[in-house]
């Protein structure tokens, strides 16, 4: 796992993202194991994901789980309440789906978003107490970190 808390042996800093990408590509082509490499960048650089052969983020499963639970909760709760205390309002049927769709829709989006946010925090290992106390700054440089003894 790439984790910038591990021992760092080599560090390259670049002002320009093209030089940064060239060096990264060179390191990978030389045979440096990609799990020993990490980068710190001030902005996301999409090519990095390809060069480091990173897998697609599993965040989407959090989102799907949250959205589906919101959808089910929306219908389950509304239907439960009309059976718990059956009260006819406005001549509408007890289980009136159109209004319940509105509630379920809102809850789908709410729980989907909250689950995604939670997933992001979990997957990105945030908040990290250590990094809050001693922040790692990039100073607007594109940085490559190589850990391990066999630094090329």
């Amino acid at each position: 796992m790439n984790d910038t808390e591990r021992r760092v042996d080599r560090r390259w800093e670049f002002e320009d993202e093209h030089e940064f990408l060239e060096k990264l590509k060179a390191l990978v082509d030389q045979g440096t194991p990609t799990d020993l490499l990490d980068v710190i960048t001030p902005v996301p650089v999409p090519a990095t994901e390809e060069i480091l052969k990173m897998k697609r983020s599993p965040l989407r499963f959090f989102t799907l789980a949250g959205a589906l639970s919101g959808l089910s909760l929306g219908f389950a709760f509304t239907i439960f309440t009309v059976f718990d205390w059956p009260l006819i309002t406005g001549g509408k049927p007890l289980i009136s789906l159109p209004p319940f769709i509105v509630i379920a829709f809102a809850l789908t989006i709410l729980l989907g978003s909250l689950a995604s946010f939670a997933g992001f925090l979990i997957l990105g290992r945030m908040p990290s107490i250590k990094k809050i106390q001693e922040p790692i700054e990039h100073d607007n440089m594109f940085i490559i970190l190589l850990e391990g003894e066999a630094a090329q």
Binding site: N2, T4, E15, D16, E17, D38, V39, I40, T41, P42, V43, P44, V45, T48, E49, L52, M54, R56, S57, L59, R60, T63, A67, T81, V82, D84, W85, L87, T89, S96, P99, V102, I103, A106, L107, I109, L110, G112, S113, L114, S116, F117, G119, F120, L121, L123, G124, M126, P127, K130, K131, I132, Q133, P135, I136, E137, H138, D139, N140, M141
Partner: protein, 433 residues
């Protein structure tokens, strides 16, 4: 050409300069808006003490300025989410200059809007009855009521907007933390959650942003649709019409874009951000303003046309009243501000004149506030039964509370400009690459 690093540094210095020591002008503006807010708050307390009778709401017009304000502020909020989420999905690059301030505007507008159902309740201390919780009354909330849909939709909107706002802020808080000292550094470090900017973090971050944008987009459409259904679910002529949902959404984006212009044109000048927000960026917002104005105009025309086409006595009577009745002058002003004035934006030179855009945005805000007022009050003033016809005049308490809501909004926004970077620094850096 300067290296990316030099561009980044300049951007950071310029944007963070805005967060420095407050100037006299800032303090005066803050004092004025805070005073308005406090006065509004006091008037609310007065209303709670002496009852809802101090407001102008009577039979038959049971919904007046408070509901107008509610719909107005929720509408303003929508533009922020449009700029953040919808324009992101459409890959419109100009959005990065506006989205931070627009998202902040969204949150403050929703917070302001959320006060109005409480104010309108009268017995605001019973507001918790609106939330579904097990209670000894053995009564659940009425999920078939549009007012309860509002509770869910607006709460969802506030939460999701807050999450979206915060997520966008995380890399920027790291930027602020790098340049801060002392206790400010510790605060910003805490709120930046220890953000590093490693490859893995960026991968998850980008996915999260896409999903939040994808989730927030249907929210833009659904929340104001739900608010419009507060009216459309009734059988009152002028309210019971199917076009309300898209019509209100377009109107919301329209008024929200106007508020973005009202806030950001002066802000750009005062905070000296001319290098980072260009006139072309404002022109893009002006185009959205024009487009949504056309949708709103279409809705006005169709409502009238179909009312007369249908031959329904009550529909025809209502629309005649709207055009020629007690509130005709408000209707005329509304048409001028929302339909006619924005047509001038077809001229490129006017789209690129910041003064013109600023003045227009004020008129549009007025026009859109009037639109909600006209819809609400004219429909209630003259319903089916002539015996119950009446009129409505807002009382000073209502006016004061409305002014107070503007005070709250601007107070929050002014504080925001001092505490957080007003431009999305990281996103602007990305577009500069």
């Amino acid at each position: 050409m300067a290296s990316p690093r030099a561009c980044f540094e300049k951007l950071e210095v310029d944007v963070l300069a805005a967060m420095g020591k407050p100037s006299l002008g800032f303090l005066v503006a803050l004092a004025i808006s805070a005073t308005c807010f406090v006065v509004g708050l006091g008037l609310w307390g007065y209303q709670m003490l002496f009852g809802m009778g101090v407001a102008g709401i009577r039979h038959p017009v049971g919904w007046g300025v408070y509901i107008t304000d509610f719909v107005f502020w929720v509408g303003i909020a929508h533009s922020g989410t449009l700029i953040s989420a919808v324009l992101f999905l459409f890959r419109a690059k100009f959005r990065s200059r506006f989205n931070r301030s627009a998202e902040a505007m969204t949150i403050f507008a929703v917070m302001t809007a959320g006060l109005f159902p409480l104010i309108h309740l009268g017995r605001s201390w019973f507001a918790y009855w609106l939330f579904p919780y097990p209670n000894q009354r053995e009564l659940w909330v009425n999920f078939r009521s549009p007012l309860v849909w509002d509770v869910f939709a607006v709460s969802t909107y506030l939460t999701v907007s807050a999450v979206f706002f915060f997520v966008g802020l995380v890399p920027d808080l790291a930027v602020v933390r790098a340049r801060a000292v002392g206790i400010r550094k510790k605060l910003y470090a805490a709120f930046s959650l220890g953000w590093v900017g490693s490859a893995k973090q960026w991968v998850h971050y980008n996915q999260l942003y896409i999903f939040l944008a994808a989730l927030a987009t249907p929210l833009v459409i659904s929340v104001h649709s739900v608010v419009s259904w507060d009216f459309a679910m009734s059988i009152v002529p002028g309210w019971h019409t199917t076009i309300f949902a898209p019509y209100f959404v377009a109107g919301a984006i329209f008024s929200g874009c106007a508020m973005v212009l009202t806030l950001m044109i002066p802000m750009r000048k005062i905070l000296k951000l001319e290098d980072h927000i260009s006139i072309s960026h404002f022109e893009s917002i002006a185009k959205i303003l024009l487009f949504t104005s056309l949708i709103v105009s279409y809705a006005y025309v169709i409502e009238f046309a179909l009312a007369f086409y249908s031959g329904h006595t009550f529909e025809i009577a209502h629309f005649t009243y709207r055009l020629l009745g007690d509130y005709w002058y408000l209707y005329a002003l509304m048409v001028f501000c929302n339909v006619l004035l924005p047509l001038t934006l077809f001229a490129r030179s006017l789209r690129r004149s910041l003064t013109f855009l600023f003045v227009m945005s004020i008129f549009v805000n007025i026009g859109m506030w009037l639109e909600r007022f006209v819809i609400i009050v004219t429909s209630l003033a003259k319903e089916y039964d002539p015996y119950s016809w009446g009129t409505y005049v807002p009382s000073m308490v209502e006016v004061g509370i409305t002014v107070g809501s503007f005070g709250l909004f601007f107070t929050l926004f002014l504080i925001f400009t001092k505490m957080l970077p007003v431009l999305a620094i990281t996103e602007v850096k990305e577009t500069a690459l």
